[in-house]
Structures are given as C-alpha cells and as structure tokens.
Subunit: 305 residues, 3 copies
C-alpha cells in the first residue's frame, strides 16, 4: 500500500518526529545517503511555477543519488491538450518512482494520488495545503531551539490568507506547552475556523495583537509573512499599516537573544536585509532544512532504509 | 556511418523485430541495462511541447544510466535568434551523444539529421511522422497478443488526420494475415493514399465502417483515437456523431474477452474512464512499452551492446 | 574564500593559461575527468534564454559526473514574486555547489556573487560581460594556431555593440605581438573607449578598415559577428552595406591557407553555409572548446584537483 503526502495531517506526530530525526541524521552524515535513491526517479510536475520549492525537491533527490524529470509550466504539459490530472499522474507513474506535484487548483494533488501508482507529494495546491513547507518549518524550529514544545511562537503579517501559518499552527499545536502570539492588522487576523478548530478546540493558549513591537519581548519564534497590498480594502490602510509589519533592526532591540526568525520566502521587503547577518535570522538556514526534510520524506515514501 | 530514425520505414521488419526483442529483454532484466549508457547524454530538442513523449525519452535514458539535457519550448531556444535547425543540430552534437527532436514543421528532424554528427530520432514532426509511437504500438500489441501477425485490427476515430493510425497500418501491413477494420465517420475516413499505397498495393484485407458497435465482435485489437470537434464542417454533425466513437463499457459488451484496447494518449473523453480498470484496457501499459522500446532504440542507435 | 568569474579580467593571464592547459588535458584524457564532480551540482539560473550557453554549461557539468538544476526563464522563477537576485542567489546556494547566471541586466551576476555562498559564473549579463565566451575564443585560437601570441586578428561586423569582440580584444591584447584588424562599417566601428583604453593605452598595433576583402590576406584569425539591421540609422545603409560583411567562399579566395574563422554563434546569414565544410571554418569546433573550457573553469572554481 503506497503512502502519499497530501496534507500535513496525513502524518502522525510520531511520523513527523521520525522524519525530523531522519533529516537530522542526513545533516550529520550526508555521505551515508548519497546513493540511497540510485536508479530512482522523481517527477516534479509543477502546473504553476515555484522555483524555490521545485529546486528544493530536485536537489533533495540529487543528494540521494536519484534522477529528476518533469515539467514546470502548465503550457508545456499535456494539460494543454485537455488531459486530466488523473491521467497525467497515472502516465507519469510509468516514468518515475515518486511524484511531487504543484497545482493552482485545490485538491489536484489528491486526485493525482488516487490514480498514480507511485507516491505523490503535494508541493502546494492553491491556497490549500503545502505540507513540505510545514515540515521544513518544524525541522528549522527543532534545529534552532532544540525542541518543538514549550515555545512562544509569534506569527506576524497576513494571518488570514497565509496558509503556511495556518498549517504551522495546526502542526505546532500537537506539541505540549506551545503558546501562540498572533500579530496582524485587524483586517488580516486568523480566520475564525483556525481560532475555533485548531486553537480553542485543542485548548491551546494564544493571544491576538496588532503590535509587533509589544509582542516581541516574549517570543521564542517569530514567523514572518508578507502583507500584500491587494489584501487591503483601501490604499490608505495599506500605507498606514504596512511599516508596522516590516521587521527592522530597530524592532528587534527588545527581542530575546536567542529568538529564531523564520520566513517561508520569497520575501519582498517584509524583513529588512539589514537583519540577514543577525544570527537570529534563520530563513536561509530554513531553506537548507527544506532540502533535508524533503530528503527524509522521499526516503520514507520510497521505503528506502 | 551513424543511424537515425526519421520514418518508421527507415527500419526493416527484421530491425523492428530485434528492437521488440530487445525491449522485452529489458522488461525481463532491467538491472542488466542500468549502466549501459553511463557517460552518455540524450538531448531532447522539443520545439513544441509534448510532455508525454519527452518524459518517455528522458526516463528511458535515465533507466539506461545516461543523462539528459535540452529545451522544450521554441521560445527558450536559440531558434528565437533566428538559428536554423541544421545549425542547432550540429551545435547540440557537441553536447550530446544522441538527439530526440520534436518539431511542428514536417521534415525538420530530417534536416537536423543531415547536419548532426550524432544520431537523431524524430519524436514527431507536425502531422507527419512519429516513428517511436509506432514502435510503441507494435511492442504493446506483441506483449498483449504474443504476436504481430494473424490479427484483426480495428482503428477507430479520426482516421483522416490521425498520423499514428496511418503509421500503424503501414507497419502492421508488413506482417502476414493482418486484417484492418477502419471505423470512422464518413468525413474522417482514411485518405485515399493510405487505401491505395498501403492497403491495396500490398494486398491487405480491410473493410471500412461507420459503426464501432458492429465492428466490435471480430476485433483482436481496438486502436482508439480522438475525434476532434474542429475536424467537422459543422457543429451539428459533430454533436450527432461524437458519441458513436466514444468507447464505453456498454459498447464493450460484444467484444472478445482478450481484446486489446490501445490509445496513443492523451485522451480527452473518447474512452470512458469506467473502462480504465478493465483488463482489456492496455493504454497505460502502452505508456510503459513506450519507455522500453525507446530504451531499445537508444541502445541500437548508440551501438551499445 | 570562494572565487567567482564575473569579468574576464578577474583572471590573471597565468590563470587563463592554466585553464587552457587544463581544458587541453580534458580533451586528451576525458575519461580521467568523468567522476571529478560526482555529488556536485551546478545551478543554471538563466533569466533570459540562451540555449547554446546553457547547454554548454550543462554538458560540461555532466561530463564531470555532476548534476544540474535550475531555471531558464524569468517567468518560471521566483523573480515573478518580486524576489531579488541576491536572495535567489543565496537560496540557490543551499541547492547547488556552483551557479552559472545569465541575466538581461548588467551587474546582476556581480550582485548575485556577493550574496551567494557558492561560486558564481557570469554566463552573460546584458551587453556587458560574457567571460566564458572569451575563454572559449582563447582556447579555440590556441587549439587552431598553437599559440595566443604573434597573430593578426581580424574582427569583422558589428564592432560597436558586439561585446564578445571587445572582450576578445581585451584578452588578446595581454599576449605579445598581437595585431588587430578592425573591419566594420563606419557606423559600427569599435567605441572610442576600446580604442583608447584597450588598444592605445597598451600600445597594441591595430588598423581600422571598412573592407573585409582588403583585410583578408594578412589575417591569421577572422572573428565574424553579425551586422544587425536595427543597428543602422536607415534601411538604405543597411541594404548597401550588409553584403560586404557576409563571409562567402568568394571572399575567402585571398585568405591564408591556415586562417581560423571563428564566430560566437548563433549565426543568421553572416557566414555562408557553403563555408561550413572548409577546414578553416572553426565555429563548430569552437562550440566544443566552449564545453571543455567550462569544464576546466568549473573544476577550478570548485577547487577540484
């Protein structure tokens, strides 16, 4: 029975912990893994561009000794001839041992996984799921803080539409003694469903605030996301608010010395480049974590020891 | 003297049989072939997208231990700077050991093969030739029926413009005791040239019919193709006729228990997905055959034992 | 301290000579180098298409046993999400061991090299630098003539905008006893800066002429470039002049028997295809040199012995 990864909740907490442990072992002993996927092929089927995610998957497969094929634009795929995602998935199963699929339409990777005869990894479907980003975030936090429990996690920016934040909240709320500080403009607060279904139902401690500066001193983790102009009802609000959610050296003055700043990237201007060399800036180390957790995931789904 | 494959008739029947035998040996013993093309490179030069064909070639080369490079959109190639296909072919001969070329213009792969210093495989040129599809079809029939002679082959759908059907008729007519049943709307019958030059000149037994249902009981092979709306003179005819050439479980009721249903894919709706799990549906196994016959072809053209 | 190659002057004459010697050793003993970059990855970040240059880099890396990933269209990269070249370079440093970047904007590869944590090779930035083309030209001249000094080098065509010619003049002027014959229409003479900063300041012997035919007999090297219609002020001048700078068998009658004809490719019509089989036509051998010098460069920047 093949395993897929469509939604982060497809994995138990134990499985996530195993993946993190495996990724940490890969980081320690990369040479052990260099030939683990020899003669295996990964197909990256990207119906919309996402260079970072695609290159992360591809470098992961190469560092396991495997090969990569695929496409990264809908118009260069058979999709333009009207082929269904299901047929493409079944066909590509003849060419590859595992598929990573990115699709603008929610649910497409799930449909693909039902017809593919090889494991399918959801590499992002619309505003829906992006489980390998969440795994990346968890590994980064584990590496930076040494643990996934007993943390105060600040999430800042667009908490309404930012799927990575919702998934992170869902995943972190499965660990004990995690407290969330939700920092956003009024217009971009987390949706009611996240508050009730993830936080309140699980009895998770959280607060909401509009002030990054007030929240800063208590945070162990600061997860930044972008505040996009088009999310605001009017330009005035955007101009008035946007600077409040841009991280600058000045705003960091009251932060803990061992704060870990994460960002799913790409960033535009929501984190000042003046912070890049601060040891608390983890977002480029987070990119590396993304590669290593994907290596662990590929090994797990291919059942390679 | 290098060998190319531009047109299926470049190969003798003996060579085709050898390729099929080689492909069957690869299927039996894939591990023997895993390093056969180590240090070799395939260039896939796709001047128009054809994901399935490209990925089939690429996976074939990877399963032989080789590497792949190329482009798959005219606009990302030097073609946009006005370079001729001949110059591109000669240049790419410096970078790869074998070339698979897809081009919207008839004859382009032939031109390329004359200037390239490495073997060139025609991966489809306009409505012209697509010899590796024909090889795929032959291997599939051989695998499904155990032979290439003494078969009743139904070809259904657009027999006028469908080049894969013309090539299949040409290739199958070289085997003894093959009978064709040509099933299409009046408007999309096989061209006169196919009837006279391939069928009648070679004394091949065939019949033409507009009814898939009437033809069904006698068929050993049913090769489905798509009936495209734009092929009809008027919408009324299209609407009236299209359902007649869609394969459904109902139409299969009178078919032989060991019928083999083929389709070059991608399909849109000409085969109901309800048939996918019928053991007589061979079109996904056909995709696999496409990979294995391309492996055999690459080995032959590179003269790798 | 990592090394980059942004501008050909980043390399000393000694280093260039070493690269050429290494490339010649690779040509002699390719089997020695087949695994030198095993487990290494090259990222080709092409923000504008340049198939020849990209495939040259990719085949170079494959022939060293390494892997390749990347993108070759701006719209398929994170650039469309507003990410800076610096952030992309830093991110891709997590996925690859060396980067080759092509960018329409002058200076982009330099910016990338400052943030990347792996070596960056400029694969062409706008009308600015293209150092691996110059290295290619030098290796080709060395292979064809046996030396880089004591040569009469004709440069013909668009000498005003043609960056490859400017770089070649700069690089060749560092060798003793090189004389340049600059052949162009009046409108497309080399810029004043090239004349003063490269030629006169270094005391290099040169002449300017509008006549390819008059220049021909004395040349050891003829470096052809394209005269583009859009460079002319009016159509009449273009029509009147263009044929003068097209190389034909007729114009070659007075050439030395051991002239070496180079062209950076792609060509449109500035060299008649009737010359392709003349042993003095070096431009396809030049393509091969491009691959080998890039192999040498990758080895040097990765510090692989």
């Amino acid at each position: 029975m093949k395993r897929d990864l469509i939604d982060i909740t497809d994995l138990t907490v134990e499985e996530i912990d195993e993946l993190i442990a495996k990724a940490e072992d890969i980081i320690e002993h990369p040479e052990v893994y260099r030939e683990k996927c020899r003669y295996k092929k990964l197909a990256t089927l990207f119906y919309e561009p996402s260079t970072r995610t695609r290159l992360s998957f591809e470098s992961a497969m190469y560092e396991l000794g495997g090969q990569v094929l695929g496409f990264h634009e809908a118009q260069s795929s058979s999709a333009t001839k009207g082929e269904s995602v299901a047929d493409t998935a079944r066909t590509v199963s003849c060419f590859a041992d595992i598929i990573a699929m990115r699709h603008p339409k929610e649910g497409a990777p799930l449909v693909a996984s039902m017809k593919a005869t090889v494991p399918v990894i959801n590499a992002g479907d619309g505003g829906h799921h992006h489980p390998t980003q969440t795994l990346t975030d968890l590994l980064t936090i584990k590496r930076e803080k040494g643990r996934l429990d007993s943390l105060v996690v600040g999430c800042c920016g667009d908490l309404k539409f930012g799927r990575t934040v919702h998934s992170l909240i869902g995943a972190m709320s499965r660990y004990p003694n995690v407290r969330f500080v939700l920092i956003s403009p009024e217009e971009l607060r987390v949706p009611e469903s996240v508050r009730t279904d993830l936080l309140e139902k699980n009895g998770i401690d959280y607060e909401e605030t509009t002030s990054l500066e007030e929240a800063m001193p208590q945070l162990d983790i600061l997860y930044m996301t972008r505040v996009q102009r088009e999310r605001f009802f009017n330009e005035d609000d955007y101009v008035r608010l946007k600077d409040s959610y841009i991280l600058t050296p000045d705003k960091l003055r009251t932060a803990k010395w061992d704060l870990a700043i994460l960002h799913p990237l790409p960033r535009v201007n929501e984190i000042s480049i003046a912070i890049d060399d601060d040891p608390r800036a983890c977002y480029f180390r987070q990119v590396l974590c993304g590669k290593f957790i994907r290596m662990a995931l590929i090994l797990k789904l291919l059942e390679v020891e």
